[in-house]
Every structure is written in structure tokens, then in C-alpha cells.
Subunit: 216 residues, 2 copies
DNA sequence: CACCATTGGATAGTGTCACTATCCATGCTT
DNA sequence: AAGCATGGATAGTGACACTATCCAATGGTG
């Protein structure tokens, strides 16, 4: 199909598709003539994934490019590709220089939590996932505002998410398809389930609040 | 204290503090002279909350203003204030016009899920929390990409978050303090725990992936 | 074969948003 | 009285995700 059809079928403006091509988020089409190119179904799927990452996941164009590069890196095996791709996802908002100062307490608390859970492998190493940094930053923010976030407060969250992670990976495996599609599914499900999680949390809080305080 | 001290103690640039004052995120200080104003501890706390909302929570200035306005609205009682404040939090990214089309399937699925859980009150009404819209949008995105998100897939997430919501509200009640502080705590904890949740999920997935596929 | 709309690559522009730099009249400090 | 700090107003900055315009080469049509 032509670029314009790709645009029509995906609901993305042609100018935007061109932009993604330019930015390397979408591989170039097969050149037919000097001025025309042919795109396939895989371009359509890729385009939809890009939109999901950027619009739903709030991933920046640059971060999306890295994620997709990992998906396409043939020098990696299945597991490495999966790890690298999820690794490249944004690690929360970049911490400003002012708040980076002394997250020592937060770091210690995160370490104690992970030790308690039996996750991870002691103190941070180079193989520590970026999510570790996300956690430390988030804990530091709570601390600086004086809100409770002791290990005991955090543990139930961690346990619950541990159980959900099994479910997440079941979904990915069940999704089956080719290895390529499975890696893509892992990325997509990681990102696309985040808003689901946050929405369900808000709904759950509203429901619990209704139960406790009645009214509404 | 003076504006400059407020800036120093909070680690926020004076120009930015002025900006927040201008934008109404921070109430004006008590005017001492024609050119100077005095700020108190409550300004410092509010400033930190603003930073948390904007930097950690990714809340826009406009949305933060609405949230804070609800916190300060004396015409509301405790519960109303809490509801209105959390209500004003951003409901995920605003859905573009292209994807707003026909979320009927997603809506039906969300309704069935909520019915199964015994949450909510049947089909959407004007008292349905904005989080309902977040959920529908997120489900629609998953569907359009062809990823699994049946009611059965979503239920474990919802159940887990339902249990966590009890814990959330326990934290808020335990936080005690004045009613004002409690409402503030509800907002802060709702927003500040989101990155904690997402980080723990990523870590849990990494851990589970390590268990299943070994290596690393 | 002549004509013109379409295609797609390149370039530069737009709108938004969260700040941030500058100016300046005032007034506190010594 | 000198000189610097304060804080209000105004305009500017940089990042980012597009988006509008131009244009040469092409493909379909009569």
C-alpha cells in the first residue's frame, strides 16, 4: 500500500507518518520508483504500536526509537531483545538536579524492601533495572513531602504487583505468535496496561471511599 | 520568610516561585510593604505539593490549579473536597479525535468488569468518576492493537487494586492531622504512589521474567 | 501523447507548555 | 545616603510533537 493508504488505515495524518519515517520510528517502505514506496501490513502494525507508545504510554519519540531499535536488533536473542526493549522504556520523569540530592535514605529503603521480597540481588549493580531508579526517585519524593512510605507501607503493593507480574507474563506467553510478535507484545502490554492499572486504582479508591464514608 | 528564602528552602528557583504565584498555584504572601511579602510554613508545604504534582505526577499547571482550588474550597465539606480534588486530577492523556470513535465495545467491557466486581452503579452516569473514562480509553487502545484484555484478563488486576485501595485509605486516615492535611494527603498519595506502583510493576516483571527464563 | 492530480522527500513553521531572563520602581540595611 | 535586595510585570527560551508548504518525479486519463 502507499503512504496515503497507510495513513488512512491507521488514522494517522500523512504528514505525521512522514515524520515518523524521518525519525526512524517506521522503517522505510520498499522503493517502487524514484518517488514512490510500497508499505506492508507490518508497517501498519508498527505504526499502531508507535501510536500506542506515544499517545497512550506518553513515551517520547526518542525513547520510542530506542525501544523499537531493540525490537529490531537481530543480534540479540529473544530474551535479550525483550529485556533491552523494556529496559529502554522511559524510567519515569527525569529527576531534576535539585531533587537528585541525597536519595540515600530512599535508596536504603528500596534495598530493604527488595531484600524482604527476595527480589533483585542486593545493592544496585549495573544489571539493576532502570525501574529501580524509578522506585528510589518516587520514594524520595514521598519522603521529602513527609508522607508515609515505610517498607511496611510499600510491601503490600510490591506483593500484589508480584502476583500480577505472573499474570502479565502469562498473557505474553499466551499471546504466542512469532518470537518477534511476542517481544512486541511484552512491550505493548507493559506500556498499555499502565493506564489500565492507574484507572482501576482510582476506581477502586472511589469505591472504597464510598464504602467507608457512604454518600454519593 | 521572604520569597527568596521560600525558594532556597524548597529548592525551587525564585523565578519559578513567582511563576506559580502568578498562575495561582501558590496563594500570595502577606504584604508587608508595597514591594515585599511574607510567606509562612504553609506556603512551603503547598509549594512542595505543587512540585510533587507537577514533577512527579506529571500534572499540568492548569490541572494542578484545579486540584488546589478544590483543596481550598471552604464551601465543601471534608468528603466533597476530597472527591472534588481527586476528581480534578488529569484523567490520563486526552483522547485524540481519531481514537474517540466508537469505544462502544470497550465501554461494554468496562461495564461488565465493574458489574462483576460489584463496583460502581451500573452504566455510566454523571456521578461516574473520570477514572471510568480512563479505563475505557485504555481498553480501547488495547483492543485496537489486538492485544488481549478480556474481562477475565482484567479481573485479577481489579481485584488486586481493590485490596490495595483499602490500604491506601488506611494510610490517609492514619496520616491524621487536620482535615485539611488529610485531604491534601489523599491527593498527594494518589499521585505520588502512581510512580511507585509502576516502578514496582516493572521490577516485579523483571523478577518474574528472571525466574522463568533464568539468566541475567 | 498531453495534462494534471498524486506521491513522497526536504525544509521550515506552528502551537503548547513550563519555565526563565530582564527590567525597574521601591524600600530595607548599614 | 549608598547600594543592594525584593518582587511585580513583560517578554523570551527551549523542548517537543507535529504540520504546512514546496517541488520534482510519476501514474492514470482522455
Amino acid at each position: 500500500m502507499r503512504l496515503s493508504e497507510l495513513s488512512r488505515r491507521s488514522g494517522v495524518a500523512t504528514a505525521t507518518v512522514k515524520f515518523y519515517l524521518r525519525e526512524g520510528l517506521l522503517p522505510p517502505g520498499r522503493r517502487i520508483t524514484a518517488t514512490q514506496a510500497e508499505y506492508g501490513e507490518e508497517h501498519l502494525r508498527r505504526l499502531r504500536l508507535v501510536r500506542a507508545l506515544i499517545q497512550v504510554g506518553g513515551v517520547s519519540v526518542a525513547a520510542a526509537r530506542e525501544v523499537l531499535a531493540a525490537l529490531d536488533d537481530d543480534s540479540l536473542d529473544h530474551n535479550e531483545r525483550l529485556g533491552t526493549a523494556v529496559w529502554s522504556l522511559p524510567h519515569g520523569r527525569p529527576a531534576g538536579p535539585d531533587e537528585a540530592a541525597d536519595p540515600a535514605t530512599a535508596r536504603r529503603r528500596a534495598d530493604r524492601l527488595l531484600e524482604l521480597l527476595g527480589w533483585g540481588y542486593g545493592p544496585a549493580t549495573e544489571t539493576t533495572p532502570p525501574a529501580y531508579g524509578m522506585l528510589v526517585t518516587a520514594i524520595a519524593a514521598l519522603e521529602r513531602l513527609g508522607y508515609p512510605c515505610t517498607v511496611e507501607d510499600l510491601e503490600p503493593y510490591a506483593r500484589a504487583l508480584g502476583r500480577l507480574a505472573e499474570h502479565d507474563l502469562d498473557l505474553v506467553e499466551r499471546y504466542g505468535g512469532t518470537p518477534d510478535e511476542q517481544v512486541e507484545a511484552a512491550v505493548a502490554l507493559t506500556v498499555l496496561y499502565e493506564p489500565v492499572l492507574l484507572a482501576l486504582r482510582r476506581l477502586a479508591e472511589a469505591e472504597e471511599s464510598r464504602r467507608r464514608f457512604g454518600s454519593h
